[in-house]
């Protein structure tokens, strides 16, 4: 058997699943002592080159409470045409279509390599994708122009039959009717008034007219060719219209007096968008795309008043509880988000402004519904333009890399229960025998709805081992988990992806080394981080840090090898060796540290952290740093201040930022223009290399990172300096050689100090 590393990687590629533990402790008690919970990162729609979907319905276990899907782990009696469910042990007849089944003629779902399989099923009417643009018109002229162009461009990226709609807002909210000839028509709403869904529908004329049943006449059955067609039209039909309409969009004419913010009715606009879709296309894939250039300043969901002299809330204000609007606004958006999620729609937020735009309050809209959250300085930046374009990226098959209205159903062997999930999902409150009472993340259910997802969307799912301490290792020695994801593919077809995995049970007392060896520290770090970030949303920052620290210490105590009270004796096995370092960086990350971040930024970072896959998440936790120099090929270097050398070019990727940093000498050379001299062409190449690499990252990542090109002493160098481990600071500078890097002006502890303390605490018999 290959190493665990390979196993893990293989599993990830095939199933999109990574477990924190790949060998499971067989009892609840032991599992608890493992500190890091048994959990996995699931990427439900992980792209899979060799996964041809099958065009039939999955076969389900007939037990009503189980309904697991036939999978390679099932025992099959080919002669009797029976199969036994590996979750509930129910014996099931194969359906008639499987009459020809035999050992040599197996359906795909029984083949081991199809532990993940995708079914295309024909269910329900096919509804086109829906894109509802909600556009802020209180923008600077330049911004608005750029946005208009982006939107117009996006029309060409949509499939012809996709429905589009347009809502604009400023002081008021306008819902544009798209089907009119000769006159452009819109419904206008006051931006200050909270309307119920019913009211909105009535006002848009969407509620079916109550036709009084006249005697003697059959009730009038209007040929309701979808009344909503007025607001949502297939792109191919109104392409020109909409392009013109967007072209004619004017800035909100409401005069903004000196010292005031423009009045922006984001809350009502969103509410109307949600209401509109809610009554016209419930439970079909739809994106509400909100483009906003500033904070909501009036009406429900307002985040800040229109007086410029009152600044928008900061973390400081929040800690002091000096925030007038936050709670109410948050509540407003939460309500909206929940309604949206209930209807299977999603909300994207594209917020471009130099100041905050209220993402803190609005975050749940994107978080809960699986929508995107993009934050930029202006719509007239490539960051926004590229990112927005990337929303409509297509996968290998030429289809959008987006899916809608997914329902994730998790089934477990009896020894396991589901504690919860963390990710862009909402609970469907499906209670069942495999639902644990202890919640981690969004718990209490075995089903979640993910209104929108793409191939990288990743959920963390936490389990609980419920096998009693004294019970024997379960039958067969393996535990199994099945993930069933039903979703609307961008081709409009319904699909079901089923992933079934199994892991060995091990007795933690006798076989701890197996379990230890099967620890996936990367997955574990991300899973713990998600838990931490999840907690940070509702708890005070220091508490979360303390909790994380305690978990780390306990883990070290459990798996470290040391002599009591002898820090120097402390050792961690290879499979744990990076974990403390991840935790160190996590503690410093913007996900848990709000210092120097605005509430919006924090929300933005956390939003992305809660949905990216393991690799990206790790980058977020611990940015990667590459060094380019004449001394050799580009190489990853320690994220440490000691890596900052004068003759190096550094490329740092924090996921959100790509920083290229020219060392002092390099920068001087560049200033001197050596790169332009033919004899120094190699220098030119050296300068170019990181740029190219950065481009590669920029091209693929969503959202597009902020690209920063700086040099030693540059103001933007702070992005780098704040990330590296401050091994050299103004405090210890002279203890180190002059040549060994750049001092960081900080009082933060360095990794070394952190580790020292960790060891001390881990070996301490007191704790």
């Amino acid at each position: 058997m290959a190493t665990y590393l390979e196993f893990i990687q293989q599993n990830e590629e095939r199933d999109g699943v990574r477990f924190s533990w790949n060998v499971w402790p067989s009892s609840r008690l032991e599992a608890t002592r493992m500190v890091v919970p048994l959990a996995c990162l699931l990427t439900p729609l992980k792209e899979h080159l060799d996964l041809p979907p099958v065009q039939y319905e999955p076969v389900l276990c007939s037990r009503p409470t189980c309904k697991a899907v036939l999978n390679p782990l099932c025992q099959v009696d080919y002669r009797a045409k029976l199969w036994a469910c590996n979750f509930c042990f129910q014996r099931n007849q194969f359906p008639p279509a499987y009459a020809g089944i035999s050992e040599v003629n197996q359906p795909a779902e029984l083949m081991p390599q199809f532990s993940t399989i995708e079914y295309i099923v024909q269910r329900g009417p096919q509804t086109p994708l829906i894109f509802l643009y909600v556009v802020d018109t209180c923008l600077e002229e330049e911004d608005l122009q750029a946005l208009k162009e982006s939107l117009q461009m996006s029309l060409s990226l949509l499939p012809g039959d996709a429905l589009v709609g347009l809502i604009t807002f400023g002081r008021m909210v306008q819902v544009h009717e798209l089907s009119c000839e000769g006159i452009s028509k819109s419904y206008v709403f006051r931006g200050t008034k909270d309307l119920t869904a019913k009211q909105i529908q009535d006002m848009l004329g969407l509620s079916r007219p109550v036709v009084p049943v006249q005697q003697g006449r059959p009730p009038h059955t209007p040929d309701q060719p979808i009344i909503s067609s007025r607001f949502l039209q297939p792109v191919h039909k109104i392409d020109m219209n909409l392009t013109d309409l967007l072209g004619e969009l004017q800035r909100d004419p409401q005069p903004v007096t000196q010292g005031k913010r423009p009045l922006r009715s984001t809350g009502v606009a969103l509410s109307i968008a949600v209401g509109l879709l809610e009554c016209t296309f419930p439970n079909t894939g739809a994106r509400i795309m909100l483009f906003t250039g500033g904070p909501p300043t009036q009406g429900p969901g307002m985040v800040v008043g229109d007086e410029l002299k009152t600044p928008i809330r900061s973390w400081h204000d929040i800690e002091k509880d000096n925030v007038r609007f936050m709670k109410k606004a948050t509540k407003h958006y939460e309500t909206l988000a929940n309604r949206t999620a209930a209807n299977g729609h999603c909300i994207d937020i594209y917020a471009c402004a130099l100041d905050q735009t209220g993402l803190l309050e609005m975050k749940c809209c994107a978080n809960i519904t699986g929508g995107h959250m993009v934050m930029g300085d202006s719509f007239n930046t490539s960051l926004f333009k590229q990112t927005f374009q990337r929303v409509f990226n297509k996968g290998f098959s030429g289809e959008f890399r987006m899916a809608f209205g997914a329902i994730l159903d998790v089934k477990t062997s009896r020894e396991l229960k589901i504690a919860g999930a963390i990710g862009p999902c909402v609970s469907l409150n499906a209670k069942g025998p495999c639902v644990s009472e202890n919640e981690l993340g969004i718990g209490g259910t075995s089903q979640w709805k993910i209104c929108s997802l793409d191939p990288s969307t990743t959920l963390a799912i936490y389990f609980e081992v419920v096998n009693q301490h004294n019970a024997p290792i379960p039958q067969g020695g393996r535990g199994a988990v099945q993930f069933v994801t039903q979703y609307q593919h961008s081709s409009m077809l319904k699909r079901i992806r089923v992933t079934t995995i199994a892991r060995n049970w091990a007795d933690a007392q006798s076989q701890l080394q197996h379990i230890e060896a099967a620890f996936d520290q990367e997955a574990a770090a991300v899973l713990m981080a998600r838990l931490g970030v999840y907690r940070a949303e509702s708890e005070e920052g220091p508490d979360v840090l303390r909790w994380l620290d305690r978990q780390l210490i306990r883990l070290c105590q459990k798996f470290g090898q040391y002599n009591k009270d002898d820090p120097n004796s402390f050792r961690l096995s290879e499979s744990f060796s990076l974990y403390p370092q991840f935790m160190f960086h996590l503690r410093r990350s913007p996900f848990l540290q709000v210092f120097n971040n605005s509430p919006d930024e924090s929300s933005y970072y956390r939003h992305h952290f809660a949905r990216q896959d393991l690799t990206q998440s790790l980058i977020m936790i611990q940015p990667i740093l590459y060094a380019y120099s004449f001394h050799g090929p580009p190489e990853p270097v320690l994220l440490d201040s000691s890596s900052i050398l004068p003759d190096r070019i550094l490329l740092m990727d924090t996921f959100f930022q790509i920083v290229i940093y020219l060392g002092e000498t390099i920068a001087q050379w560049q200033k001197a223009g050596y790169q332009d001299m033919p004899e120094y062409e190699n220098f030119k190449h050296l300068l170019q290399a990181p740029l190219d690499d950065a481009q590669d990252i920029l091209q693929t990542r969503f959202p597009m990172p902020r690209y920063i090109h700086t040099e030693h002493g540059g103001s933007q160098a702070r992005f780098l300096l704040s990330k590296v481990n401050p091994s050299q600071t103004h405090n210890n500078l002279y203890a180190w050689g002059q040549e060994t890097g750049a001092p960081i002006l900080t009082d933060d502890v360095s990794l070394q100090v952190f580790m020292d303390h960790l060891k001390k605490l881990a070996v301490s018999s007191a704790s």
């Binding site: 006159i183 419904y187 206008v188 006051r190 008034k193 004619e248």
Partner: protein
Amino acid sequence: MSVNQQAHTGPPYGQPQPGYQGYQQPAYGGQPLPGEQYGAYNGPMPGYQQPGPPQGYFPSLGFPSKGSPVSINSDTSSLPPNFIGSLRAPPTTGAPPPASGAYNQFGHGDVQNGIPTSAAPVQRPPASQPFLPRSAPSQQYGPPPASVQQLTNHMAGMTIVSTTASAPPPAGLGYGPPTSAPPVSETFSAPYTPYTASPGPPPTTVFQGPPLAQPPFPAQPMSMQRPPTQVPGFAPPPPSTGLGPSPYPPPAGAPRPPPMPGPPLPGQSLAGPSASQPNHVSSPPPPSPMAGPHPGPPMGGLHGPPPPTHPPQPGYQIQQNGSFEQVRGPQPNYPGAYPGAPNYGSQPGAPPPPKRLDPDSIPSPIQVIEDDRNNRGSEPFVTGVRGQVPPLVTTNFLVKDQGNASPRYIRCTSYNIPCTSDMAKQSQVPLAAVIKPLATLPPEENLPYLVDHGESGPVRCNRCKAYMCPFMQFIEGGRRFQCCFCSCVTEVPPQYFQHLDHTGKRVDFYDRPELSLGSYEFLATVDYCKNNKFPSPPAFIFMIDVSYNAVKSGLVRLICEELKSLLDYLPREGNMEESAIRVGFVTYNKVLHFYNVKSSLAQPQMMVVSDVADMFVPLLDGFLVNVNESRTVITSLLDQIPEMFADTRETETVFAPVIQAGLEALKAAECAGKLFIFHTSLPIAEAPGKLKNRDDKKLINTDKEKTLFQPQTSFYNNLAKDCVAQGCCVDLFLFPNQYLDVATLGVVPYQTGGSIYKYAYFQLETDQDRFLNDLRRDVQKEVGFDAVMRVRTSTGIRATDFFGAFYMSNTTDVEMAGLDCDKTITVEFKHDDKLSEDSGALLQCALLYTSCAGQRRLRIHNLSLNCCTQLADLYRNCETDTLINYLAKYAYRGVLSSPVKAVRDALISQCAQILACYRKNCASPSSAGQLILPECMKLLPVYLNCVLKSDVLQPGPEVTTDDRAYIRQLVTSMDVAETNVFFYPRLLPLTKADVDSDSLPAAIRNSEERLCKGDIYLLENGLNIFVWVGVNVQQGLLQNLFGVSSFNQISNALNALPVLENPFSRKVRSIVDMLQVQRSRYMKLIIVKQEDKLEMLFKHFLVEDKSLNGGASYVDFLCHMHKEIRQLLS
């Protein structure tokens, strides 16, 4: 009554005068003369009081009353006829000639005018004399100034008349003999020449007296017969009217008078005689009691025909008896009657025999109108004199502003105000002014001059803030001025300083409109603007109901088509090239649609606002636009609106949100403006101001009836208040197919100074013209916005009550979001102190408004009135039309809070008191059975009856609740001319029209008896025109007018007369067109065939007849009135 009427005939007197000359002249011309004499008289006569100063004036005044008119007529022999027309044309003629001679001398100068200014406020002749007075007055008034001369003129006129008239003979006889009067006249003449004119005047009153009584009699039955009524009437009436009676009496009076005439006369005679005669003759002394009254003349006048002898003249009798009925009896008898008359008075019983009061013998509106037209229509009305009674509204006359506002702007119920509140209370005559601040003037008259005092703004009194006006007294060499209202002395601002001439007048008197004219405008400074910011030009917003009904009836398309061209005719200021007014468009049903028609757009944008619960305007820019800049977009929009809603199924509408939307739009644009709302149905959609159908005819005649006139909810009142604050005026065009609660919907238009137009069961084919014409006129008419009006008065009286379409947030300022040239405000005054005869009473109406170009202006109207210590003067200077205007408005407001019955009773009782007070204090003693009406008020009963019978106060079963509410609001902002024709419609015999002249055929009285089966008539009341076709009309006429060959072929459905090329058709159509032009609303034309079912509707407007809903006939009502009066007297 009859007497009075006769009095009117008075003019005739004049005519008859010839004989009387003396009298008449005095009377007519004479009256003026009295002037001096009056002085004297005054002593005796309370009425005259008009102190000496006036003398000159007085005379004029006096004359003016009736005599003068004559003069006017004078030229046209016809006139006399007119007067007489009613009664005694013939008689008149006779006398005149002589008079003329004499008078002529006087007359010579046309000077009148010039003089007129003379303070001598033309006093109306004593009320009593009405008739004469009227005619005379008018002339005189005009002339008064000239006093003498004028008189002469009049006289001349008179004479002429007389001459023309055959009457002479009778007159001669009668008159001559009757009294020494003639001599008097002569004497006068003499005096006149000198000056006396004044004296003349007094005569006016007198006239009647003199001429009247005796003359007629003397005239003999013979004459009577001829001129019958007339002559006699004339003569007599005068007396009656005149007060003079007493004086007269002596002359002939005594003898005849006693009988019937007496009574009538009394009224007249009293006034007339006493005053006039006294003057003239000194007759005063003579004033044998009876004489005056009997003045038989009156009688005569009335019954003229019924020579003296006939005691029981109808008219008289009536009066006498008090009970009309009885009277009736007499009427027939006339002759006998007279004699008997007295008896009647005494005997109620008498009546039995005579069953009916002769309609011809009771005061005739037609006659009065004709007289006034003839007497006063030809001379300009010069406003220089204080307290002049202007010609009737039905008379065409020019106005020369010489310091008082034109009667087109302000009319008062009385031009002579009692000095004390006790007097006012005693008389019960309401003191009110009907003000139409932006009235349209005929092209011959000058618009008020615009005065710009620069940054300092208009000069005002420091204390009461009255604006500089002709009545301000400059003192201390012009350095200060004393306020004519509050007497406070204010420094003249340095830049306004000017030296005074030797008379104390500023040297620049004639250069400054505010010093020499009654009406003028000031350019307001920024201090007079809202928020201290000059206003932006106003905006018009067209708000069109596009619910199913509106679309289906074709209304929406019609409006849109019309607007395309109509937008070129928005009102503009003076000579501006294009209107400054911006326009906006909204359509609505259950939701509102706003349109962005910004010029830069390729196509209009529609913005739907469904949040009707909380209305707002969805766009700031592009909603209100300049028509020319956005023309293509607007045209495109108007083309599309009918298409867009062609398939609508929406039947529900909202209403309040529509107004709110307009209001918000104007607020956002920071301007004032007007909303034109085209609405079809009861707003039952869920929205603020939602209404329910609460129409319930069962409430009629119950205590709850008032609720039908009250709004269902106070919501609209609050809305109206907001509208007024913003200067948002609402004009409402209603097209109901069923009840839509005008009472509630009308609240906002009403309180914002807007108009309501209602087209029930609108059908494109039949109602399109009417609607479009109304719309055009409504859009084009001159209008001011954001107006505040305040009426300041001399210390002693105060404006206490206001009627009209406006809002008041305090007790003095009338606020109107919009005010157009047709809107009228009636203001009632009450005493809060004493007034003095010397200084009279002044009114200053200041209207601050924003012109259609956005200029802030102040329009000032000043009017000076006389004050009196004698009730007779009050009664002599009343204006019945204005009085009716006030009473109607008062009553119509009353129905909001009191049962209709109570309102009606109150009206009757007030009028009874007015008349009783006159009878008691001003008429010479006479039999209680006589009904004596003041000359100026002799139409009060007939008009009052019309008010009482109107749909609001006495609805028939076919009148809808909405109609009543509509009429109620309509009347509330009508001016005097409109109420006049509304309550007493004009009935014209078309078949009598002279196809070759421009003139209208002479109107006839509104009674079925006057209709002839062989004729075609036209009746108009300002809202409708009926063309009534008798069953026996010649085929040729039918062919000419309708293009059909028989009566049966005339279609009821016609809503216009076919255009046929023949003189008759042309003439009739031109008449119709002429009438349409005169009215502020386009009248609906209805063809009524005799004996057709529509005729019921038509008969409703024959207001002298008994109405189907129980309204009394004129005759019956008169009797009832008499009874009431008698009760009061006893």
